[in-house]
Assembly symmetry: C2
């Protein structure tokens, strides 16, 4: 399993929020009922989204949540990272994008440095594939897909970066 239920529930929460959006805050209870998700668990998830700045909350009666940005400005790589933490193909894979690229530090190979293990190439390619798919998908894509279906497929992409066609 690549993602946890935190990621799934969180994304569905955002999609629901994007659809129900209308000025007034949306109560978590309403989302939980529509999506058939446990309310108590959603509370913990939405807290992550709030800390990451995707939603803002209004406390007290008639309170709830609102998106802080346009759905088209919310990229899934940010969302997933906020929910599940950094995406690593393997435990020895450290996404050190701050410095130069993605670092792979094999704990076993680390002792005697006989160069990188061959798996580094594989993990890096896989990691790239996942990150690219996430970066190229915004919340707006998911919302458009949920109502209608074709919407998300008409978005223009850089040549050579076509995403697979998905049918409802």
């Amino acid at each position: 399993m690549i993602f946890t239920t935190k990621a799934e529930y969180g994304v569905r929460l955002l999609v629901d929020l994007g659809q129900a959006q209308g000025g007034d805050p949306v109560a978590l209870k309403a989302i939980a009922e529509r999506e058939h998700l446990p309310l108590a668990y959603l509370e913990r998830i939405v807290a992550l989204l709030r800390k990451a700045g995707f939603v803002e909350s209004t406390r007290g009666a008639r309170g709830g949540y609102l998106l802080t940005r346009e759905p088209s400005e919310i990229r899934m790589d940010e969302v997933i990272e906020a929910l599940d933490g950094p995406i690593a193909p393997m435990s020895c894979f450290i996404d050190d994008s701050a410095t130069d690229a993605h670092k792979v530090v094999c704990s076993h190979h680390a002792v005697d440095d006989t160069g990188p293990c061959g798996t580094k190439l594989l993990w890096t390619r896989v990691h790239g594939g996942v990150v690219r798919a996430l970066q190229q998908t915004t919340l707006a894509d998911l919302i458009a897909f949920e109502r209608g279906g074709v919407g998300a497929l008409e978005v223009r992409r850089p040549v050579g970066d076509e995403l697979p066609v998905v049918t409802a």
Copy 2:
């Protein structure tokens, strides 16, 4: 974590086997020592590779393992599937490639079919990214990468399917 250590150890086992290859069977003990991996655990892993037909074994003294195909004929998507089972982004994601495409059956949404959840689009894209990266990488790529580095990058790919450059 996308892959388990089974996948990592198994791939490293195959890479090691591809390098040490020379007619005679290679004993697991030798691989375990070179790669600093637990022998007992490797036994369980190599059994999966044998059942999947990637290696053949010779029992008894001076026995060991040999690759059954050329490294360039061993695609990583097959290997990973043999080791970790089918790759699914989420527990509700069923790779039903036998019928038409990839099926997503959300256990929560399944009750009342209000159409597909928006996450289907996301999971399918991610899944596609992973599978493509795995399909485009062969054991030969990894072996070439481990000695030298540049080798794996010279392999020709369909246009628009460039893989990220990986430096040692």
